[in-house]
């Protein structure tokens, strides 16, 4: 076979391969050598990045790439995967403009995450679980990357679904990476189960699509014979049920898949808990891979979703309505919840949910390009934000360590001490003077001064701290809370109420995070997030004001999306500014923040032996550099990635863009009918700027003033304690799910799946029957006790007895199991034979 693998048609095959190979190499061979393992992982992503970037360059350099006029010009190749009856099922890769921009964003973000991970994981002490399972982490991360890249280059829904599921598995493995923690285990199970619900429905949708269309390849469905398949599927008279066209039903199912994967309401609850994984995983899940994949999938199949309708004329199809409503609700709800979080990562988690809501809502009103644009820019700044938060948490953990061990690390570190001294002088603290006892004293002082009632909860959840700074929640947590994850529990190093003043400790992180936050809140004109968010709002607004073209249809969905997104943007600006100010502004509010640093735990003798200053630097700052270097790169993209998608007619800037919206023209060619460029209006821009100004300005007013540790959060003062607690409890969704679905599924999982399927034998099922009978017996017994006290112990006893009898079948003797199997098989065989006779 003569294949030039460097040809852009074949190269996409190879893009996902290096990380997958890396996964196998690390798992099978290099697991014991940490340096080897992370080198392989990073190297594999570099390879993927180079190949993907080559394809991207080739794509941007090709004239009329995508669908123009009547020709479809894309890269791709396929193989016959299997013969299905008379037709063939083809499997392949394809690169169209949408894929091309994903191939730009995904590998860059991944590469940065990988490099960052080397520093992040390496900074833990040797006996930490992070360090013990170091190699395994990189193996999982590689598999994750491989899954995502597979999904991106796939040219059909099945291959895409495979990548999708690989990522589902990896997210489970990585969220539960610190499986010593019960909360991590539960978060992993929660994420896996929640996305599974959606995935099953999505798979049903894929199956239905195959049954109706006879193919799962995107370009055959969307373009072949002038989109004949789409036309047929979109016609409710020809196909479908219940008055919905087949395309609508399939679209609804696929959108549900995305709702799970991209954590949209009501399946959003897993994402904030996914913070239990190490921070690079959060960055991976939130930016480069998992949740982006969900949005990418709906963008990918958008022609199917709008088949039979036209959002630009307010003819909404069912999937579009679902997306618009869910997206709006999610964007707004998550933005509000983001205000009440004190866990730095959880703030970001809610902002991710909210921003994904923006994209989904944008797609709901047909803003295809705007959704794709926001997906790209969001990935950059969200990866940046998460990795920054990881650096912050690391610095805080280091500070906690320093407090516990009597600042031993400072003695051998003159530079650091000097730096600290400087910082402390500025804030009126002596070096090392701030201890947990001081914090207690401050709280007592606060009670005396009447700022705080005794027993009242301070922002970090308690009115006192123990001698080593342990909060009551800590103790409770360690003894494993039976009801699972407490929604309002915040781990100490993550708690922004305990931070403050960190910009002096970790300046690079602080300003990188500032860039990311500015992009997230849409700081006007100079950030990427502004341009992409503005485009969504402009899309929504333009069609409302231009209602002439709706021909009598009411653009209610546009209005809903517009209103909720603008409010959500305001809240976003507020909570992001709040988070940044609480973290980096003011002065340290706890001993941990006082001693926060990103420097290595380095042996003083080793440091003294280091010959060159470069080596000295590396010994002290290797992890710091590895963590913060990627932040700088991503900060660049968080600011400048937006300039490719500026509206062509934007005042002043049109001189530079030459009245072209490059992103729009490039990605728009992924559709059969290129979406029309909306005329430029100044109002949407002003609305965006206004939303930003109100939110960020208000937060600045409230949070830039110095605060003391006992003071309540300003928001708490404004909205009152019950609302604040409701925010911290995430509106009770988690508790509700825990009490209903999760308990139910857990029961099912433990009783049925674990016992029956895990044991792979018939006795598991019998055991289940026994248990069910026992439970029924138990229930009846209780019923009897309550209603007719003392009556009817007989039935439960009988049932309990039969339960015990069933137990005897579980003997552990393999031949007995074999006999049961044989009897069952023979019963089936006899059934068929007797039917013939």
């Amino acid at each position: 076979m003569d294949v030039n693998w460097l040809d852009a048609n074949y190269l996409p095959w190879l893009i996902p391969v290096p990380p997958l190979i890396s996964f196998m190499l690390i798992i099978l061979f290099t697991g014991r050598n940490k340096v080897f393992s992370h080198s392989i992982a990073v190297g594999s992503v570099v390879l993927s990045f180079l190949m993907a970037f080559g394809v991207f360059l080739k794509a941007t350099g090709t004239d009329d790439f995508g669908f123009h006029e009547t020709t479809l010009r894309i890269f791709g190749d396929d193989i016959t995967w299997m013969d299905v009856g008379l037709s063939e099922f083809k499997m392949g890769v394809a690169v169209d403009p949408l894929t091309a921009v994903m191939l730009f964003m995904v590998p860059i973000a991944m590469l940065m995450i990988f490099i960052y991970s080397v520093g992040y994981m390496g900074a833990y002490p040797d006996d930490d679980p992070h360090k013990i399972r170091y190699s395994r982490f990189f193996a999982y991360l590689s598999l994750f990357a491989g899954g995502m890249l597979t999904l991106v280059v796939a040219d059909n829904l099945l291959l895409m679904f495979m990548g999708w599921e690989i990522m589902g598995l990896c997210s489970y493995l990585l969220i539960g990476f610190l499986f010593e923690k019960k909360s991590a285990q539960q978060a992993a199970v929660k994420a896996f189960m929640t996305t599974r619900i959606a995935d099953v429905l999505m798979l049903v949708g894929i199956g239905y699509l195959y049954a109706e269309a006879g193919t799962l390849r995107f370009h055959e469905i969307f373009f072949a014979n002038n989109a004949e398949i789409i036309e047929r599927l979109g016609n409710a008279d020809q196909t479908g049920y219940l008055g919905l066209s087949a395309a609508s039903i399939i679209g609804l199912l696929l959108v549900i898949g995305t709702i799970g994967k991209s954590a949209q309401f009501p399946l959003h609850a897993w994402l904030p808990d996914a913070m239990e994984g190490p921070t690079p995983v959060s960055a991976m899940i939130h930016a480069a891979a998992m949740v982006s994949a969900g949005v990418y999938a709906v963008i990918r199949v958008f022609p199917l979703l709008e088949a039979g309708g036209n959002p630009h004329h307010a003819e909404y199809t069912a999937p579009l309505i679902l997306m618009g409503v869910i997206g709006s609700v999610t964007a707004l709800g998550a933005a509000i919840l983001g205000v009440g979080q004190n866990d730095i990562k959880r703030v970001l988690a809610y902002s991710t949910i909210s921003q994904l809501g923006f994209m989904v809502a944008a797609l709901g009103i047909g803003a295809y390009v705007a959704a794709a644009f926001h997906l790209i820019t969001h990935a950059f700044f969200k990866a940046l934000l998460f990795m920054s938060s990881g650096a912050v948490i690391h610095a805080m953990e280091h500070g906690e360590h320093a407090v516990e061990h009597g600042h031993g690390h400072d003695e051998h570190d003159e530079h650091h001490a000097h730096h600290d001294e400087h910082a402390h002088d500025e804030h009126g603290h002596g070096h090392g003077s701030y201890t947990w006892a001081d914090l207690n004293a401050k709280i007592e002082h606060g009670i005396e001064a009447g700022h705080l009632q005794p027993g009242e909860r301070t922002p970090y959840g308690a009115d006192y701290v123990g001698p080593n700074g342990e909060l009551p929640d800590d103790a409770e947590w360690k003894t494993s809370i039976p009801q699972g994850l407490k929604p309002d529990f915040v781990a100490k190093p993550n708690n922004i109420a305990l931070m403050g003043g960190l910009r002096h400790k970790i300046p690079v992180t602080a300003y990188a995070m500032l860039a990311g936050s500015a992009s997230l809140v849409g700081f006007p004109l100079i950030t990427a997030g502004f341009w992409s968010k503005d485009e969504i709002i402009a899309d929504a607004m333009t069609f409302i004001t231009n209602s002439g073209q709706f021909e009598g249809h009411s653009p209610w969905l546009h209005m809903l999306v517009f209103v909720s997104l603008v409010i959500a943007a305001t809240f976003t600006a507020f909570y992001t500014t709040r988070m940044w100010l609480l973290t980096f502004w003011g002065k340290p509010r706890s001993p941990m923040a006082e001693h926060a640093t990103l420097m290595n735990h380095v042996d003083p003798e080793e440091l003294a032996q280091a010959q060159t200053s470069l080596k000295k630097f590396w010994l002290q700052y290797s992890n710091s550099a590895l963590m913060q270097g990627p932040l700088v790169v991503l900060a660049f993209f968080a600011i400048f990635a937006g300039f490719v998608g500026i509206h062509g007619d934007f005042p002043v800037l049109e001189w530079f863009t030459g009245s072209h919206n490059f992103f729009h023209e490039f990605v728009g060619a992924s559709l059969l009918h290129e979406p029309a460029t909306i005329p430029f209006k100044i109002w949407p821009v002003l609305v965006s700027v206004l939303a930003f100004s109100i939110g960020a300005g208000f937060a600045y007013l409230k949070y830039s003033v110095p605060r003391d540790s006992y003071e309540k959060d300003p928001v708490q003062n404004i909205v009152g304690d019950p609302v604040w607690q409701a925010l911290k409890d995430r509106f009770g969704f988690d508790t509700l799910y825990l009490a209903t679905f999760y308990r139910g599924f857990e029961w099912f999982g433990r009783r049925v799946s674990y016992r029956a399927i895990d044991k792979e034998t018939i006795d598991g099922i019998l055991e289940t029957i026994a248990v069910i009978f026992n439970n029924i017996g138990e229930a009846i017994k209780r019923f009897n006790h309550v209603i007719i006290d003392g009556v009817g112990d007989g039935i439960p006893q009988f049932i309990g007895l039969s339960g015990r009898w069933f137990r005897n079948l579980q003997s552990g003797r393999v031949q007995q199991y074999l006999l049961f199997t044989a009897v069952m098989l023979l019963a089936i065989g006899l059934f068929f034979v007797l039917r013939v006779l």
Binding site: Q810, S811, G812, R813, V814, Q815, L818, L819
Partner: protein, 102 residues
């Protein structure tokens, strides 16, 4: 010539005998032998069908040859497991090795 169904009946009988042995013998080695009998029964079936239905194609014989391979691998691993169990538990009676529960 002997009709096809003779072979099939012999094969079926041998398979049933093997199944009985696998279900009823206590000694693990006897169970392995019974499994070998069942594999043989399958092989007789394969070769007989090849001979009567499609004798000019080579596939049937190759198929049977692969069954040999599987049988050899199965016997080697199976007996190794038995020896390992014997070494650790001093028994090859499968009822005594009742760990497959809970």
């Amino acid at each position: 010539m002997v009709p096809l169904w003779f072979y099939l009946v012999v094969s079926a009988a041998l398979f049933a005998i093997g199944a009985y042995g696998a279900l009823a013998r206590r000694n693990a080695i006897a169970i392995v032998m019974s499994v070998e009998l069942m594999l043989n029964a399958a092989n007789i079936n394969l070769v007989a069908f090849w001979r009567y239905l499609n004798p000019f194609e080579i596939n049937g014989q190759i198929f049977a040859a692969f069954v040999f391979i599987v049988a050899a691998a199965e016997a080697a691993v199976g007996l190794a497991l038995i020896i390992a169990i014997y070494r650790s538990r001093q028994t090859v009676i499968v009822e005594d090795v009742n760990m497959l529960k809970w």
